[in-house]
Subunit: 252 residues, 2 copies
Amino acid sequence: MISIVVIGAGQVGTHFCNAIHASPSLLLKQFYNRSKVALTDDIKDVEFCSDLDLLKDADLYIIAVSDVAVEAISKALPFENRLVVHTSGSVAMRFLSKKNRRGVFYPLQTFSKNSDLNFSAVPICIETSCKKDRELLKSVAIALGSPYYTIQTEQRQALHLAAVFVNNFTNQLYRIAHELTDSEGLEFDILKPLIAETANKVQVLSPYMAQTGPAKRNDKKTILQQQKLLENTPKFQEIYKLLTKSIQKTHG
Amino acid sequence: MISIVVIGAGQVGTHFCNAIHASPSLLLKQFYNRSKVALTDDIKDVEFCSDLDLLKDADLYIIAVSDVAVEAISKALPFENRLVVHTSGSVAMRFLSKKNRRGVFYPLQTFSKNSDLNFSAVPICIETSCKKDRELLKSVAIALGSPYYTIQTEQRQALHLAAVFVNNFTNQLYRIAHELTDSEGLEFDILKPLIAETANKVQVLSPYMAQTGPAKRNDKKTILQQQKLLENTPKFQEIYKLLTKSIQKTHG
C-alpha cells in the first residue's frame, strides 16, 4: 500500500484525490489545502488539514497547486528527504526545494469540475532525480490505471506546448464555429458529430493522412468564397488565412 | 420504398450508396460513375452504369461529385422534372439545372475510405425549392437514421465554413502537435486521450465554458516561455500568437 498526501484543491488535486481514494493499492492519507475547501462526498472520510505543520508521514506528496505557488509551498514543507512531486506541465523540477527528493507527476489531460474522468484516459508523465523514486511513481500510475511515460523536462515542456495546440487552441476553433453558427441562427449542436469524428479519426490515422478540405486540395474558389464570408470578422479571417496557409505548406 | 440513384464514386457517394443499400425503406436503384469504379463487395448486386443515357426512373437523384462538376453533370442529365440534389457544402442550389426539381442534401461530416460511419452521426442539411420535395428528403434522412436540418443557402455556407474550422483547421493543430512531439522524440499517442476529451467536453459544455489554459488565465510567464520554445519554427509561433490573442479577446 503506497501512502499519499495531496496538496491543493484545484481540478487536478481533486481528481487525484478521488482516483487515489478509489484505488485499492493506494492510501490517500491526507488532503491539504489552505482555503479549507471540502472534499467531495465520496471521500469525506479522508483526513483534511490546512496547516503544513500537521502533515503526516507518507510515501509520496503530490503538490497540485498553481504553477507560481509550487516553489514556495515546496520550501514551506516542514520535513526533509521525502518524495515530493509537482503536477505542472511547464514548471522545471528544479523549482522544487532540494531538501526533499524531487519528481514530477504530470497528468496530460484536461480536467473539469463535476465530471468524472477515467484515469485510463490520463497519461502520466514521470520525471525524477533518482531511479528508485521513478519506480514508485510508475507503481502509482499503474495503480491509478493510467498509461505512463518517463520523460525529461524539455520533453514535458514540448508536450505541454503540444497540449495547448490540441486542447486550448482547438477549443478556440470550436468557439469561433459557435459564433459562426450563432450569427446565422443555427444550433452549434449540428457540428458536434463532426467535432467528435475529427478527434476519432486521428486515434487511428495520422493527422497528415486524416486531412481533407479546400486548403488541402487547393480549391482556390472555395477558399476565396469562405474568406469573403469572414469579411466582417477580420480576426476570424486572419485565423482562416493563416491556418489555410499552414495546411497548404504541409500538403503542398 | 423511396428509389434513389447515386451519381459519383467519391467518399460521399460511396458512403451514401452503402447507407441507402442498408436501409430497409430505401432502394438503391442504380449507381453511376464515369470512371467505372466498382462498388464495395457488400453492394455488388446494385446495378451499375457509366452512361447517363441509361439512368433509370427514380424518386431521387443524388449528385455526389466534386463542386466544380455539379453544374455540368446536372445539365447533362437526359430527363426533366425529377428531383435532383447535390451534396456540396458550398455550391448554391441554383447551379443545378432548372429542367429538374432542385435540392441540396448536404451531409455535415468527414468521410474516410475504408471506415464505416454510422449515419446517426451524419447530420443532413436539407434545402429544396418546393415543399413536397423537402418532405421526401426528410424521409430519406430519417430512413438513413440521420438527424436533419432544413436550412437556407447562406446558412449552409456558414456551416461549411464552421466545419472547416472544427475539422480541417483542428486537424492541422493536431498535425502541428505531431511535429512538436516528433521533434522531441515523443510518441503522438500520448496526446490522443487529450484530443478525445477536448472533443468530448464540448458535447456537453459550450466551448466558452470548456476553455482552460495559459491564454485564458492570462498566464504571461507560460505564454512567453512557450513562444520561446517555438523560436525555431516561426510559422507555428505565428499561429500560437494569433490563437492566444483570440482566446484572450474571447475571455478578456
